[in-house]
């Protein structure tokens, strides 16, 4: 791997440019990917990584610039054409069909799939060869996030790709599963497959990649050999400024404010995860970080605390008062607030103005209604206050929520709850898809809130974030919550085990004969 510098160039990008109304997503991007090389594409959210790979995969046509694949002009008109030329892609948001089985999902990604029976056998064979065991007849909707990713990878491998594009593949994996994935990728690289690896996780890139290209605001701002740089240097290349790390003062935790005991909730969604006997406590002034791979009960836990899902009355108590059967607004009256993960469509209504979205959760605590009639003036004031105090960039409070960028809307959503002065706040994925400076300010606001004595739960898939702001850490795995442990001093390995480890597949690479046992967990 280390000597790919001499390998022939597989894909040459020259001056690729793509503009959308109001934003240049890619501005004259040029670089080379060599055969068998693991090439990192680094950049913050919004740096233009997704647009670039969509152009390579034939989903988006560049406005100008050229691509050359093995010396031939490469202009894929659609993904089918790109696949025919040996380009394969594993999507960040999986392009899978829940109601179909594994083999059907894989057949859909192939040009000329063999008969279903032959395909199933082939899937078993390839999946075992690469240490990614899969049952071809399982319904995809019932698989874990890690297994779903394996379906995508196998789908790509069956096409014998020359270039495999992976978009943020580790966000759905536990640290142990990440190691197994890397083993697979190294094996592919040894066999001559080039990999374009998109990520903003710097340690991963340092351990896996041979070369790196850094994008910022659509432009290539540098390239390097990641092993030769420190994570901090890479970060500064990516962000273009010196990073600000939130401050926090150590202090004693207060009395228990929120207590959840033996909480079990069935998921409303047929492919969702039910919560199983979840117990936790959060004290005044404390931040409890909850990690775990997406889809392990995070939404359900937030719903049970916010009041969207009703539970046994005693399963959730605040200041000793049982609140399990109260509605979201009744809980808001008791200063229990929440900010869900899905910004558009859950935390905020996309086509409604920021004023209306301020009313959405603020009606009770900000006294925005009087005998059922809305005080629009006060709602506007509240919206303006959020916009001002949380530096939400928008032309005005009458703009629709969906006109805001992800980071600005996230600041609005978190700000809306923080400014209502909660005793208990649950936030799911507070900085998902948000650029570094906005993320830092959101984290700081949560720390400040804890400082003022609120009990806070932060649910996130970003372990670095959790380690940075939590006092204690717990992990959700298939609807069960691990015991919470002090965050200081936890190792990555320990965290990984709390998240469910490698889900029983750690044997895959070391003992090729034992796949079947490994796959059944």
């Amino acid at each position: 791997m280390s000597d790919t510098g001499e390998a022939p160039v597989l894909l040459h990008l020259d001056g690729l440019t793509k503009a959308y109304p109001g934003v240049v997503a890619n501005d004259s991007v040029s670089f080379d990917i060599r055969e068998g090389e693991v090439h990192a594409l680094l950049g913050e959210n919004g740096a233009g990584k997704s647009t670039l790979v969509k152009m390579i995969y034939g989903l988006v046509k560049p406005d100008s610039g050229t691509m050359t694949l093995r010396g031939q002009r490469f202009e894929p008109s659609e993904p089918r054409a790109a696949r025919a030329d040996g380009i394969a892609m594993v999507f960040q948001h999986f392009s899978l069909f829940d109601a179909l089985n594994v083999a059907e999902n894989i057949a859909l990604g192939m040009e000329k799939p063999p008969k279903m029976g032959d395909l199933a056998a082939k899937i078993k064979e390839v999946s075992e060869e690469y240490g990614l065991p899969l049952d071809p007849h399982a319904t995809v909707g019932n698989l874990s996030a890690g297994e779903r990713q394996r379906v995508e990878i196998i789908r790509c491998l069956l096409q014998d790709p020359k270039l495999l594009i992976m978009d943020e593949p580790t966000s759905v994996l536990t640290p142990q599963e990440v190691e197994i994935l890397f083993e697979t990728l190294r094996q592919l690289s040894r066999e001559g497959t080039a990999i374009l690896y998109i990520s903003h996780k710097l340690e991963e890139i340092r351990s896996l990649c041979d070369e790196a290209t850094v994008l910022r605001l659509g432009k290539v701002v540098g390239s390097c050999t990641p092993r030769e740089k420190s994570a901090r240097e890479l970060a500064e290349m990516m962000v273009g400024e010196v990073l600000h790390v939130p401050e926090r003062a150590a202090k004693d935790a207060g009395e228990v404010v929120l207590s959840v005991s033996d909480l079990s909730v069935d998921s409303p969604n047929p492919f969702g995860t039910s919560l199983k006997n979840v117990s936790l406590e959060v004290r005044a002034g404390e931040i409890l970080g909850i990690g775990g791979v997406a889809g392990n009960g995070q939404d359900e836990l937030l719903a049970a605390i916010s009041g969207e899902a009703k539970t046994d009355q005693g399963a959730v108590t605040v200041h000793g008062k049982a609140v399990g059967n109260l509605s979201p607004n009744e809980r808001r009256k008791l200063a229990i607030l929440a900010a869900p993960e899905e910004r558009l469509g859950h935390a905020a209504a996309p086509d409604m103005s920021l004023i209306e979205n301020a009313l959405l959760t603020g009606a009770v605590r900000k006294d925005l209604t009087k005998s059922g009639f809305v005080n629009w003036g006060a709602s506007r004031e509240f919206a303006r206050e959020i916009i001002k105090k949380f530096d939400v960039r928008t032309p005005g409070s009458t703009n629709a929520a969906r006109s805001l960028s992800g980071g600005n809307l996230q600041k609005f959503v978190v700000g809306r709850e923080v400014l209502q002065d909660p005793d208990v706040l649950v936030v799911n994925q507070p900085t998902w898809g948000v650029d570094a400076s906005a993320a830092a300010s959101i984290r700081q606001s949560l720390l400040d809130l804890a400082e003022r004595g609120a009990a806070i739960i932060v649910i996130s898939q970003d372990l670095d974030e959790l380690m940075e702001i939590s006092d204690r850490f717990a992990a959700l795995n298939e609807g069960s919550l691990s015991d919470a442990r002090p965050a200081v001093g936890l190792t990555v390995d320990e965290i990984g085990l709390m998240m469910g480890g490698a889900h029983g597949m750690e044997v895959a690479h070391s003992h090729p004969d034992e796949h079947h046992e490994g796959a059944t967990s």
Binding site: S327, E330, A349, N399
Partner: protein, 359 residues
């Protein structure tokens, strides 16, 4: 290549212009339809849209405008609340029939007493009848998750059968010489819904329609329930997060729309129609769906759309009399109007771009 680009915020201008453009396009396409039927298209369009208000015999037709628009507006206001929340009551025709039957039954039960209380009681009974009929799909939806579109529609056919049965049985006029149909409620002063101001067509149903428009306007713009209705339609999950109880909202919206449709039926059977017959309903419940959409589910818009749709009814009758254009042509014409409106709607939410396609 033409492509669509989603607007960050829906366009206010297009939201107003789209219905007008749709009416214009319908006139053009309708003109072609009339030409295909061998009629003079200009003459036909003039008869439908101009003569009823400003033509030679307008004095006779103008009152009809409010008579036809009243029930359309009343029903459409109710439907629009549900449609906004994503609750599809398309069985207003059935609720209209049941309102008329309930109301008429109360009136006939008192016959021939002359008490001032009779008419108010009939009004209440009409609203109750429509509401109860709408509660069937509402409860099936909340208890069993049954699709309200299909159940509310099936209930129209059932209501029609009940209407036939009533006209031929229970409510049949004992002095009607064996002809189907009830006594004429409009001829019996305690139960009649007369024209309030001579020559205007204004009756109690029209008054109720105006009140409904104002009430709906205040509800949607000022009241938290209106906010919850809009929120639910746009984003059901955000609505639950905002403490909206979806099932309660379904019951409220279905109940309101059923009640208003029932009232429309009651005012019709006591006024313009006069009696329960097996041909009492003429499709107002379905046309009101067009009115609701044409009015952008907005109370003021519905008021205007109801008047416009009433115009096509009256104009259609004139066209039928003077050019012998078949009555069905007007129905096709109204359907066309809804099509064009839905097509024009794209301009409200999307910008049309000419140029190379992105994907």
């Amino acid at each position: 290549m033409i492509r669509l680009e989603k607007r960050a915020t829906p366009s206010k201008q297009w939201s107003l212009a789209a219905p007008l453009l749709a009416v214009l396009l319908t006139m053009i396409a309708g003109g072609f339809m009339f030409a295909a039927l061998g009629k003079d298209p200009v003459e036909a369009i003039r008869l439908i849209f101009w003569d009823p208000i400003l033509g030679e015999f307008a004095d006779y037709f103008r009152p009809q405008l409010l008579v036809k628009a009243g029930p359309l507006i009343l029903i459409a206001i109710g439907l629009s609340l549900g449609f906004r929340a994503g609750i599809w009551n398309i069985g207003a025709e059935g609720q209209y029939i049941m309102g008329a039957i309930f109301g008429a039954a109360v009136g006939l039960a008192f016959y021939p007493a002359e008490l001032w209380i009779i008419f108010p009681l009939m009004v209440i009974a009409g609203a109750v009848g429509g509401t109860l009929w709408a509660m069937i799909p509402a409860i099936l939806k909340t208890k069993f998750n049954t699709n309200e579109i299909l159940t509310s529609l099936m209930l129209v056919y059932i209501a029609q059968e009940i209407l036939k049965s009533m006209a031929n049985g229970l409510l049949k006029n004992p002095e009607g010489h064996g002809f189907p149909g009830s006594r004429n409620l409009a001829h019996y002063s305690a139960s009649s819904n007369p024209e309030l101001i001579a020559g205007t067509g204004m009756h109690w149903g029209v008054v109720a329609a105006f009140i409904a428009v104002i009430a709906a306007y205040i509800l949607l713009s000022r009241h938290i329930l209106g906010f919850q209705i809009r929120l639910t339609g746009e984003s059901p999950r955000a609505a639950r997060f905002a403490s909206v109880r979806p099932n309660l909202l379904i019951v409220i919206c279905m109940g309101l729309s059923g009640g208003l449709a029932g009232l429309a039926g009651l005012f019709e059977v006591t006024g313009p129609a006069g009696q329960i017959t097996d041909k009492f309903n003429v499709g107002y419940g379905f046309t009101a769906i067009i009115v609701a959409f044409l009015g952008r589910l907005n109370p003021i818009g519905i008021l205007l759309a109801g008047l416009l749709m009433a115009l096509t009814y009256i104009g259609g009758e004139m066209a039928q009399l003077q050019l012998s254009i078949p009555a069905a042509a007007i129905q096709a014409f109204q359907g066309m109007l809804l099509f064009f409106l839905l097509a024009m709607d794209v301009l409200t939410n999307f910008r049309i771009r000419f140029g190379r396609e992105a994907a």
